[in-house]
Amino acid sequence: MKMLEKRRLATPGDLLVEGDYIAGKNTYKEDGKIYSQRLGLVEFDGKKVSVVPLKGPYIPKVGDVVIGLVSDVSLNGWTVDINAPYKAVLSVMDVTGKSFSPKFETLTKILDIGEVVVGKIVAFDRTRDPTLSIRGPGLGKIEDGVIVNLTPTKVPRLIGKKGSMINMLKNETGCEIIVGQNGKILVKGRDPKKVNQVIKAIKIIEGEAHTTGLTDRIKVFLESEKKGEAD
């Protein structure tokens, strides 16, 4: 039986383990051998072997909060670009909460092309485009703030274990941060300096997502920035 150490970097087609194991995410089984599907870090969870990818597209999942750009207006709703291979649809009923009559209302007055929304994916499967909803706490049209891009597979690193990283960022800078699972992050804050610090921190996470001890390093970075401000 062959087994590789934990947190090893695997390339597609790498033989991860042989024998009585379960193929987890981003791996596949062939003749009792488990291979990696993607470039990423190997993780063992009991009998389950999986790979955490370093790069990759965002694939919508029901329940995900995403940040999207309104890219088109149709007769009864909008098309939203959510940085995925599939365009999301947002219906006018969902936004206004009542039936829509084109006689009295204009869709573009509610939401226009180029505007940005925070939404939740309420339905998606292989046969249908994702449906978005912007009704709920924290959801809706974005009025101000900065949007930062992050590779979608690195979003879990930005959040950290039980939100350790994101909470630390929020507490240290006092900024409001909304993380879209699709790799779009909204940063809102009164002080542009603080907003800039968050953006810089996100860029560090982007570059070093595959390394360990990231939360501590970000903390050190933020503290040094604070010192710089005081001087």
């Binding site: 970097l9 597609p12 062939e30 993607r38 470039l39 597209p57 694939i59 599939y86």
Partner: protein, 245 residues
Amino acid sequence: MSVQKLVNEKGLRIDGRRLDEIRPIKMEVGLLANADGSAYVEQGRNKVLVAVYGPREAHPKYVGLHDRAVIRCRYHMAPFSTEERKSPAPSRREVEISKVVREALEPAIFSEQYPRSMIDIFIEVLQSDGGSRCVSITAASLALADAGIPLRDLVAACAVGKIDGNLAVDLSDIEDKLGDADMPVAIIPALNRISLLQMDGLFTEEEFVKALDLARNACMKIYEIQKQTLRQKYLQEKEEDNEKG
């Protein structure tokens, strides 16, 4: 038999290689910021740049398939890639190579994970010196891996041929033109499958078996370099971090 000797008395070829020796290879990944994945491969005097986009929305929508992603591949030679200027319009040869490269890569891609979407592979040959379709496959599979597209394995490709009656691996342009046969092979090592096998010229049955074996060995050498390149990209960053910390 050709006028120019392709193999000398010592068993060395024009460029000084042994018969079973591949040309020096240099690989790089992730060098194009706009593309989702990219790779650059130099093999001898071949220089190939590949950009991968996707999976992205199938456009126009009707080309999308309901059970898997559509894979599009474009092999193109730059006008300055050959000795004589090559017209930039796609030639018959380029259309054919686009197809065989796509078919060599398709069995390695988990395209069923992204129905109704599209994956685009753009291959640009900047300089060519024989065996550019093999270099293209090698580079394209690297770019796919760099884009984070799920693959069964990387695809490695290399040609074998017959020059002056000897079997030789990874033919250069002049060896291809003056030689007796040329056979490009692409393999998917994890599946133990051959995904490209073409031949022009003549081999005897024994020669073919031997040639295929030579090609397999050469492909495995290239495959190891591919894996090394992918790993290197992230390990390097890791080392840099350690130096910083």
